[in-house]
């Protein structure tokens, strides 16, 4: 029993340490001035961001809508129609938006990233880059980390907007709260900080997902089975990383 606990602790420490080392390597690759392969950056911005837009917007719309429908029962019971916009905006901007979008992003982009890098590792494409005197961290990892951070931020901006839109729409149709009341409640009770709070989180979530998915991708061992294991581990570790980061940032920015 103690041995098993010890194995788990050693395993977690090794993975967290590996992700930390990768972060230092990424930072070192950005010195003395940030430079990266523009083609790789554009390719990743497009496939990670633009291609994720439909699924992220759909998720955001329905999460905003569900939030309003669920809270509608209490809004009616307590006659709190004037608080519906504030409640939806506050929870969406600060928590629901960044968290749900990050989890969707991790499932779609992070897992794909791990699988691609893992396949490159087991087919020696990463060694092939090294043999051509091209730094895999600078060429492959830095553009991916940058693209994920930028695109998760952008997707959260769009997602927040669409979630609120979904909330306002369902608030009118299902709960019977007029959209003008909804918007007034939202704009008069929420400040810029409520929006920025969630957007700051989204940048850190992007960092967590990118480093985790890249780390598990480039440390794959054991062929196709290893790639499957790495993808699984990457998604689980990213989800835990998002939650832990969310908790820390909420405490820091309260």
């Amino acid at each position: 029993m103690i041995a098993r606990v010890g194995d788990v602790v050693i395993g977690v420490t090794r993975e967290v340490g590996g992700i930390g080392v990768l972060m230092l390597q990424v930072l070192r690759a950005l010195l003395p001035w940030p430079s990266m392969d523009a083609r790789e950056l554009w390719r990743n911005l497009y496939r990670m961001g633009v291609k994720s837009l439909p699924i992220i917007l759909a998720t955001a719309f329905f999460s905003g809508a569900i939030l309003v429908v669920q809270s509608g029962i209490f809004v009616r019971r307590f006659g709190a129609e004037g608080l519906l916009g504030w409640a939806t905006g506050y929870s969406t901007f600060r928590e629901i938006g960044p968290i749900l979008i990050a989890l969707m992003f991790s499932g779609r982009v992070g897992s794909n990233n791990t699988a691609e890098l893992g396949t490159m590792t087991i087919t020696e494409q990463i060694d092939g880059l090294r043999a051509l005197a091209i730094d895999p961290i600078r060429y492959l990892i830095v553009p991916r980390v940058t693209a994920m951070m930028v695109m998760l931020f952008a997707l959260t901006v769009f997602g927040d907007f669409v979630a609120i839109l979904g909330g306002a729409l369902l608030g009118q149709v299902v709960v019977g709260v007029d959209t003008s009341v909804f918007w007034h409640s939202l704009f008069s009770n929420l400040g810029t900080w409520d929006l920025v709070h969630g957007l700051v989180k989204s940048v850190f979530f992007g960092l967590v997902i990118s480093l985790t998915s890249c780390y598990f991708g480039i440390s794959v061992r054991g062929g196709a089975v290893g790639v499957g294991r790495a993808v699984n581990a990457s998604v689980v570790a990213s989800a835990i990383g998002i939650m832990v980061t969310d908790c820390l940032l909420t405490l820091l920015m309260k």
């Binding site: 083609r39 092939g128 090294r130 043999a131 051509l132």
Partner: protein, 250 residues
């Protein structure tokens, strides 16, 4: 310009693969490293470009030690010492043309259009210019191998390491790769070829090192190898399943 391995040892866990490998490769020669599967041929050449580090021993290129360097210290060496991997290692996300243009963009600071023009010329040398816009996954293994060779040669290395360049190729494609390797000699390029393709070995090799039990069992010309009065060498050359040879990969 020479490559020297001095008393090289390398283990993977309990498996002691290289056990005191010592050999010298001279400038301009086509040097074959042969032996049974799993004997450590690929492991040997991966040490040369720092993809593996020895447990002990020395590796010298042009008299300078090239083991135990930091990753970035290998980059100047890797520009002079190109490697063609067994499975070509073309990048799936780039077209054939962009694969060949990549080292030019990165190391010769060429703009994309100029790098692509230069890459087309390199592809023409290996008769692959018609496939420039294809993706690696759309090519046969022989085609991929030729593109990998073109990509490796873009930086005009002084040494080229070939890891089983003819494995998995049809006989005609294999002989074309052989001719390509032999042609490099006229450009004063030293080729180190890992192979167990006997036709290649006895057609284009200047010298051969036969690796057995982690050491250079015999080093000599193809004629010397053929004439060797050594039952292990003769068993390998004749391809007999019975004999004194231990086969680690079987």
């Amino acid at each position: 310009m020479t490559i020297e391995f001095r008393d090289l040892h390398k283990s993977f866990g309990a498996q002691h693969v290289l056990r005191g490998l010592t050999m010298t490769i001279e400038r301009g020669e086509v040097f074959f490293i042969i032996g049974t599967s799993g004997v450590g041929k690929s492991v040997t050449i991966k040490h040369l470009v720092g993809l593996l580090q020895p447990d002990s021993g020395e590796i010298l290129v042009d008299g300078k030690p090239v083991h135990g360097l930091a990753e970035r210290e290998y980059y100047p060496l890797r520009k002079r010492l190109g490697m063609v991997f067994q499975h070509s290692t073309l990048f799936d996300s780039l077209t054939v043309l962009d694969n060949v243009a990549l080292p030019l963009r990165k190391h010769q600071r060429m703009r994309m259009s100029a790098a692509r023009e230069a890459a087309k010329e390199r592809l023409a040398v290996v008769q692959m210019e018609r496939y420039a816009d294809r993706w690696p996954a759309e090519l046969s293994s022989g085609m991929r191998k030729r593109v990998a060779i073109a990509r490796t040669l873009t930086l005009e290395p002084q040494y080229v390491l070939f890891d089983e360049p003819t494995t998995g190729l049809d006989p005609v494609s294999a002989r074309r790769v052989d001719e390509m390797i032999k042609r490099l000699q006229t450009l004063d390029v030293t080729s180190v070829v890992v192979s167990h393709d006997l036709t290649s070995i006895f057609t284009i090799a200047d010298r051969i090192a036969f690796i057995y039990q982690g050491q250079a069992h015999i080093i000599g010309t193809p004629e010397q190898l053929r004439a060797a009065d050594d039952p292990i060498v003769q068993q390998f050359i004749s391809g007999r399943s019975d004999g004194p040879m231990e086969t680690p990969g079987f």
